[in-house]
């Protein structure tokens, strides 16, 4: 066990865990990665393409190699970074992307075939022979694709979302972020401090720098105590701010219980939408490595990570380590590990003028040119002035410089700016509005620099929104400039890795250059460098530096690729916002829903609504049997159907009639009080938009109905007309869809039934003729509205009462109408009845049809202006010959399928010969046959003729007779009885 002294781990507790079936133990405070290293496990995974043995490279969220499948069963999560997995008792992890064991991966054979997997190989291979693609290549590629595997079991956990508002959002809880949050919170501002780690402190926990000559942990603990007492500061640990969106809106994921064995009662993760007036980005910096031959051996890692493991996690990856560096920073690792008793085999520094900062062997002006140890580093080749020799080491810390984490600063397409002095890209000037960058993310990476710039950033940010903040007393801290050289990679023949996760090497960058994929966005897609789950955090800058070298351009000339959210991966479950299954979206229930349920109704989703589809009775074995019965019963006696879902808009005002004249194609201002009229609305481009009824209850009071699906859009459209087109008209609108339960009462016995519930109001044919409406009372004083309108073609009414009485009214009507054959019917029968009658509905008003096609051309008034009228008279629209017809199969046993297209018998079936299509279809028990409605070219002139209804997807071709769309009661006598 290579455990060192100190560290932020709790040695008093032991935690058991397994990796690839073997048991190990660690301590609270460990990550899976640190615990594995403490157990001498360096081999943690296999690389994506070549299946090369890999170990952990970093200690943070930038980790490219150590991806594991965490947990088992339904909570199994692939591609989990071992560096981010907090250790808990009973943790189960398995390595991924291997066939066989991690040590004996059968797919390692890919490494031998590596020349065939070079950059862009999928653009050059798997193409011949063509026939092999579907049966061989594609299945093979699918199997090989990806790293981890999904369980395919349902996620058992709950997720949540929330909304936060603040004056200042501080992203990052290291030295700079802590100073910023302290400054802002003390000024009384509303502050949110978020850090992806489970502890605050950032790299203060990884280094041995003192603050006021005391361990950094002392200062952090004091701050946390002060933070806890401040009600205006919200500290969010384990929270990644993943994206900078418009206008100060930031997305963040809080990992509420990822670190627990099971969430228990808690949610797993919460998605936070944070609206911030100002933002301080203190996201720190990520170290880069230096590619050299075989630099991907397990045990080769970032030098800063080696320090983190030693100082924070009290673990060394090996007993004897070496450092490869191009600057002073690598020497710090040697000093820190030496101080903990780890043997330093040597510091290999690319700078000839380098000096040792302690008592360790120094190889100045040298490079690491190769590494041996396939399953774990054994030795390193050091080359200087053309001479090479090998040294033994179990781990190598590589320090190639630090890249400020400019991601969120660049989410609004800002480009970071190359700073030659610090050999890094710094945030540019085109930041997301309201953002200030501080600390290492801004190139102020010394401890003193981070603390000061953090506090100063908070003062500036708050000052911009009128809050005065004072700089706090900050602890004394180191401020040593870190010298470094611009050394990007070690040239050589063997493969040197740049992007570990997507297995992209320096050779691949060269190949991309050779194949003229030079601009960085092309380099990225051609080689896939930077496209893996780590988004190239440890590779991108090195890659473009190599490309710059190859092309003779400078690094700023080469530029960076675009940064996009999310900063690190976000689970789809948390993006979903929490509700799944039945609660995934809102459900709207009609007033008679519970009653219908009690009657055994089967329901159907109609948009957000649940509507009764049909009401099966005992003994009925198919839905058709039930629907046929409901249809026959309605035309024979009286049927009852809840039609509350159709949109209702209350229209009032002195100019209500004039307003309606302008939104309906037909005349509406002339409608008399106490009457209802069918209304057709057009879109401004002349197509049919929606239809319904318009009832005039009083001089200045109308009720407009719409189809169920268009209720929302039509209301929006009416408000647009009211506010934007004709604001001078005196008209007021409000939706009343939910307010009134509306029940259709249809059939020859409808009037008789209603007479039994209406309170002393004359609803005789003379007193209440077809298309009349009135406000009255029912059932001993309940206010109601009665409309004599018919969708079914029968003698029919719609009765409306306040929604809370809808169920009771339905029950009452079924009860008192028993002897009249009162039968509840659902949406299926509703559809059959209106198709039998030839009434257009949503299928016929699908946005592609016109009033003329519907047979309503004359309804579009030429005497007034209305929406759509002018454009409906365009040549092309007027020249349209397709009109609404009825269709019946010549052989009554054949089906009528909506969506079928119509052709002449014997015609070749293609676009040019297409005569129209079937819009609606059903079985009519009255005609004992399938029937349909559809649009047919010159339909009116073809009544009696035969056409073909073609449904090639299902191999149907049915001979149809063209008939009148009014299958039942074509004269309309029943309506007016």
């Amino acid at each position: 066990m290579s455990r060192l002294s100190g560290g932020l781990i709790d040695r008093s507790q032991r935690l058991s865990f397994t990796f690839d079936g073997k048991s190990y133990s660690g301590h609270p405070g460990d990550t899976l990665a640190s615990a594995l290293l403490a157990n001498d496990v360096r081999l943690m995974g296999r690389s994506f393409k070549y299946h090369r043995p890999r170990g952990v490279v970093s200690s943070g969220s930038e980790e490219p190699n150590a991806l594991v499948e965490l947990r088992s069963g339904a909570r199994q999560e692939p591609n989990t970074r071992a560096t981010m997995a907090e250790l808990y008792d009973g943790l189960i992890a398995n390595s991924q992307n291997r066939v066989g064991s991690l040590a004996f991966d059968l797919l390692a054979v890919n490494d031998l075939a590596s020349p065939f997997f070079a950059a862009g190989f999928y653009y050059k291979t798997f193409m011949w022979p063509k026939a092999f693609w579907e049966k061989l290549y594609e299945p093979m590629i699918r199997k090989a694709a990806g790293l981890g595997s999904l369980t395919k079991l349902a996620d058992p956990d709950d997720y949540d979302k929330g909304f936060l508002h603040c004056d200042l959002l501080v992203i990052g809880g290291g030295a700079a972020g802590l100073a910023a949050a302290l400054t802002a919170a003390r000024a009384g501002a509303r502050v949110i401090l978020a850090d992806e780690d489970f502890r605050l402190g950032g790299r203060l926990m990884a280094e041995t720098h003192t603050l006021n000559d005391a361990p950094a942990g002392d200062w952090i603990a004091a701050l946390e105590a002060e933070f806890d007492a401040l009600p205006n500061l919200r500290v969010m640990r384990r929270t990644t701010v993943f994206g900078a969106f418009d206008h100060g809106i930031y997305g963040a994921v809080e990992r509420v219980s990822d670190h627990l064995a099971t969430p228990g009662k808690a949610v797993r993760q919460t998605l936070w939408r944070i609206t911030a007036k100002r933002i301080v980005l203190a996201a720190g910096a990520t170290e880069r490595h230096i590619p050299f031959a075989n630099n991907d051996r397990p045990g080769v890692m970032l030098s800063g990570a080696m320090r983190t493991y030693a100082n924070r996690y009290a673990v060394s990856p090996a007993n004897r380590v070496a450092i490869f560096t191009n600057g002073d920073d690598g020497h710090r690792t040697a000093l820190d590990l030496m101080a903990k008793g780890v043997e330093i085999a040597g510091v290999i520094d690319t700078r000839t003028e380098a000096k040792a900062l302690g008592k360790y062997p120094l190889f100045a002006g040298a490079v690491v040119s190769n590494a041996k140890g396939r399953l774990g580093l054994k030795s390193l080749e050091i080359t200087r002035d053309g001479t090479s020799h090998w040294i033994e080491a179990g781990a190598l810390g590589v320090s190639g410089g630090w890249n400020p984490n400019v991601h969120l600063a660049s989410h609004h397409r800002g480009r970071p700016v190359w700073d030659e002095a610090s050999l890094a890209f710094l945030p540019g000037t085109d930041l997301p509005p309201g953002m200030v960058v501080a600390g290492a993310a801004a190139g102020r990476g010394t401890t003193h620099g981070a603390l000061t710039s953090g506090a100063e950033a908070a003062v500036a940010a708050l000052g911009a929104i009128g809050i005065t903040a004072a700089l706090p007393d900050l602890p004394r801290a180191e401020d040593a400039p870190q010298a470094q050289s611009a050394f990007w990679h070690v040239p050589g023949k063997a493969r040197a890795w740049v992007d570990f996760q997507n297995d992209v090497t320096v050779k691949d960058v060269k190949l991309a250059r050779q194949e003229n994929m030079v601009p960085v966005e092309h380099l990225k897609r051609w080689t896939t460098l930077g496209m893996a789950t780590d988004q190239g955090k440890t590779a991108n800058v090195t890659a473009l530096a190599v490309m710059a070298e190859l092309t003779g351009k400078t690094i700023p000339q080469t530029g960076t690729t675009i940064f996009r959210p999310p900063y690190t991966g976000v689970s789809l479950a948390v993006l979903g916002g929490g509700d799944t299954g039945a609660h995934f979206r809102p459900r709207r229930l009609t007033p008679t829903h519970e009653w219908a349920k009690s009657q055994g109704a089967v329901f159907v989703e109609v948009g957000q609504w649940m509507r009764a589809q049909y009401f099966p009775r005992k003994g009925e074995t198919t839905w058709r049997e039930t629907v046929d019965r409901e249809v026959l019963a309605t035309r024979a006696g009286v049927g009852l159907c809840d039609v509350t879902t159709l949109g209702k808009v209350d229209v009032q005002g002195a100019d209500a009639g004039e307003f309606l004249n302008r939104i309906y194609a037909n005349a509406m201002a002339s409608l008399k009080v106490g009457m209802v009229r069918y209304g057709l609305m057009l879109r401004e481009d002349g197509h049919a938009y929606d239809d319904g009824t318009c009832a005039r209850l009083a001089e200045d009071h109308y009720v407009v109905t719409t189809t169920t699906a268009q209720a929302g859009p039509v209301y929006r459209h009416m408000e647009f007309a009211r506010q934007c087109l004709w604001p001078e008209l005196d008209v007021q609108l409000i939706s009343t869809t939910d307010a009134w339960a509306q029940i259709s009462v249809a059939g020859p016995n409808a009037r008789m039934l209603l007479e039994r519930i209406v309170d002393g109001f004359d609803i005789s044919n003379e007193g209440f003729p077809f298309m009349a409406c009135a406000e009255l009372t029912v059932c001993n004083g309940l206010r109601a509205r009665l409309f004599r309108i018919s969708f079914s073609g029968e003698l029919a009414y719609e009765i409306a009462v306040p929604a809370r009485y809808g169920a009771a009214l339905m029950g009452r009507m079924v009860e008192v109408g028993a002897d009249l054959g009162a039968t509840p019917y659902g949406t299926e029968a509703l559809g059959v009845l209106r198709i039998e009658k030839g009434h257009a509905a949503g299928n016929e008003l699908n946005g592609q049809t016109t009033a003329q096609m519907l047979g309503m051309g004359k309804m579009v008034s030429t005497k007034k202006d209305s929406i759509g009228a002018v454009m409906s008279r365009r040549e092309g629209m007027v020249a349209e010959t397709r009109t609404l017809v009825g269709l019946m199969p010549v052989d009554a046993t054949e089906p009528v399928t909506a969506g079928s297209h119509l052709f002449d018998e014997g015609a070749a079936q293609k676009t040019e010969t297409d005569l129209g299509w079937i819009t609606s279809a059903c079985y009519s028990p009255h005609l004992a046959s399938g029937i349909g409605l559809g649009f047919l070219a010159n339909g009116k002139d073809r009544i009696g003729q035969v056409v073909i209804a073609a449904n090639p997807l299902q191999g149907q071709s049915v001979r149809m007779r063209v008939v009148s769309p009014h299958f039942v009661d074509p004269e309309g006598g029943r309506l007016r009885d």
Partner: protein, 96 residues
Amino acid sequence: MLIPHPLLGLRDAQEFTYLGDASLIHRPDGMAENAAETFFDYVYLRDNPAGVHRELWFHEQGDRSWLVVTRDTTTHEILGAELARDVALAAKGGAQ
């Protein structure tokens, strides 16, 4: 995005439905001689600027006001928002 509603202050764009170019407010006279031409332009022709754009937003999950929002389509900076009704009335020659 946050929309600066003239009566309610900053509101999240998620409360709104977007329609498009505010020129839709200026609907031609449907009874005029040249209505066919003017309506063709009105229904089909649009400028599509990469820059400052006046556009219509409906506060659907709010007060159901239509707003004319001036927004830079390249930066999403919102320069202002007015009640569409006020814009429409002004275009027709003053409030009534």
